[in-house]
Symmetry: C2
Subunit: 333 residues, 2 copies
């Protein structure tokens, strides 16, 4: 019997359609066409093929825009938003519009073209996470920005145009709609209960232990109760914190460890799927919120979504999260 | 300079990123693999390959589940929801869940495997629309259902699994989230202005004449001001009406005409793209609303959306709607 489940945070109902359920390897996918490895702009030695670097973690004896780095941040060559200018909020008749001001940066996660994020040494992955934090802290100083969106597209089907391991950051003058909805849902719960809804979820998930994929000292990886997508996966800090940038050094190491473990498990059971992840955190203007809880959402791209799902916001998911969690938990690496 | 635009109905901001803009034919796509034309379950003569028909428009001298029909409605062989049973709303700890009760039907638009929806004779297309209405009216009588969702997936990339022209209907015990958001946005506008926001949009679009693709006596086709997708297209009745099922016969003919024209224009300039359309209408419990306005949303599937767009609800659209409207308006058929 299919089931309708409600996302407790934003109130979206999802169909868990077990009649259509597939086992993990039933989801086929093709790797990103990677013709240009030799001339890859993200490879060591090709630094001149990108715009000049913003920052890099590099051997102190080396110069910017030369080899010797292990994490490198550059402006996106084809930015979705433009850094210079004023917001110029205005009306067009009944419509609202503003200039597309923002930052669009690329975090190159390794100089090595053959490595994926979960192949990195723990320390290197921690440095990537710390770089996310550093860039966020820096960009927040720009009062035009309301939100710092950090995400990764892995594989052509997930929207990546280059195979070399990288993630992206977009600083925007608006707060993304999904995050606003999460905040509103969290606020409604907090107003009623005086508790963070994410903290409540974490407590229930640990008690029930049906949708937990893995955990460590500081973080937990769960399959959410009402996932839109098969193997949709969230990583949350166990202790309440709304603001990703307040992460501490030892906690960043812990996050690197669980992110690596989660991605390795996912790669194992889903055969290296294309995926996206995105960091959901509080907005620049009100970073400290008792009702919001930062987290990472990981979406493996396993199914072609029909337009009715785009058009209605109503999703059909063939894989129950309990089953996905079991596969992930038991994955042998 | 890219631009941020706000959808006036649900308040979602969208990036119109002109730097990345593509001309219509830059969007490649592949046709649906149609191996099984001969054994297609939707073809005339293969009626036994589907579950028994619910209704059909057919020659009165012919029997159900035999040839002689021109529009045929059957239950989906792999339904996302199940028709029998009670809703059984319940809690699972802090979570909400109910049984996946609903109807899932297929409207076969023609017995001819080689025809697409816009190839149909006007009268046949009108009958398809009238069938949408008839099935909606019938299913609304079931008090378990809150919403009747009618949509079409055309082409494999749009989620279709069969090439033969068909659309689908899902009756659900919930109102889809996007529709709820539209209703809430419409209500807020109405509370302030005592006018329907969709009626306001139609008036402004007709006056400005920058985003109108075509119109006829009863309907208008526009590119919305803040489209998530290139060539996202809406068809709206010009006179206020919240409930699709109240469509009159002459108005259904008018809708058939503009739907056919719009799809033909889209096929012409986008080279027969995969697409989805979905009818947004009021819910079963409150069909007559001064603040809601039924419409059809058409989404050609031209771009691979990155997960950050799924994850954030924040879209980057490389094609300004003014340009899309110009292409559509000028398309020579």
């Amino acid at each position: 019997m299919p089931e309708l489940r409600k996302d407790p945070i934003i109130g979206r109902w999802v169909i868990i359609s077990t009649e259509r359920k597939k086992r993990p390897f039933d989801y086929p996918h093709v790797p990103l066409d990677d013709k240009n490895g030799a001339s890859c702009p993200f490879c060591q030695g090709n630094e001149s093929k990108t715009p000049p670097e913003i920052i890099a973690l590099r051997n102190p004896e080396t110069k910017p825009n030369t080899p010797g780095w292990w994490v490198r941040v550059v402006p996106n060559k084809f930015p979705a938003l433009q850094i210079e200018g004023q917001l110029d909020r205005r009306a067009e008749g009944m419509f609202d519009v503003m200039s597309g001001i923002g930052a669009h940066e690329v975090i190159i996660e390794t100089p090595d073209h053959t490595k994926e994020l979960p192949d990195l040494e723990d320390k290197n992955l921690e440095d990537v996470i710390w770089t996310y934090r550093d860039r966020s802290v820096d960009l927040r100083k720009d009062s035009r920005f309301r939100y710092i969106l950090i995400f990764k597209n892995k594989g052509g089907e997930a929207g990546a145009s280059l195979a070399h391991a990288h993630s992206q950051l977009i600083a925007t003058p608006i707060v993304p709609k999904r995050v606003v909805e999460e905040m509103e849902g969290g606020k409604a719960h907090y107003d009623l209960k005086e508790r963070c809804i994410f903290c409540d979820i974490i407590r229930q998930e640990i008690e029930e232990n049906m949708r937990v994929a893995c955990e460590n000292e500081n973080f937990i990886t769960i399959e959410p109760f009402a996932p839109r997508f098969p193997f949709e996966t969230w990583i949350l800090p166990k202790v309440h914190e709304s603001d990703f940038t307040r992460i501490q050094k030892h906690s960043a190491a812990s996050l690197a460890q669980i992110l690596k473990l989660t991605l390795k498990k996912m790669n194992k059971i889903l055969n290296n799927p294309p995926y996206n992840f995105i960091i959901h955190t509080s907005d620049c203007q009100s970073p400290f919120l008792p009702h919001y809880h930062w987290h990472i959402e990981i979406i493996p791209r396993l199914v072609k979504h029909a337009g009715f799902e785009w058009g209605s916001g109503f999703y059909i998911n063939p894989t129950p999260p309990e089953e996905a969690a079991k596969f992930l938990k038991e994955a042998e690496l």
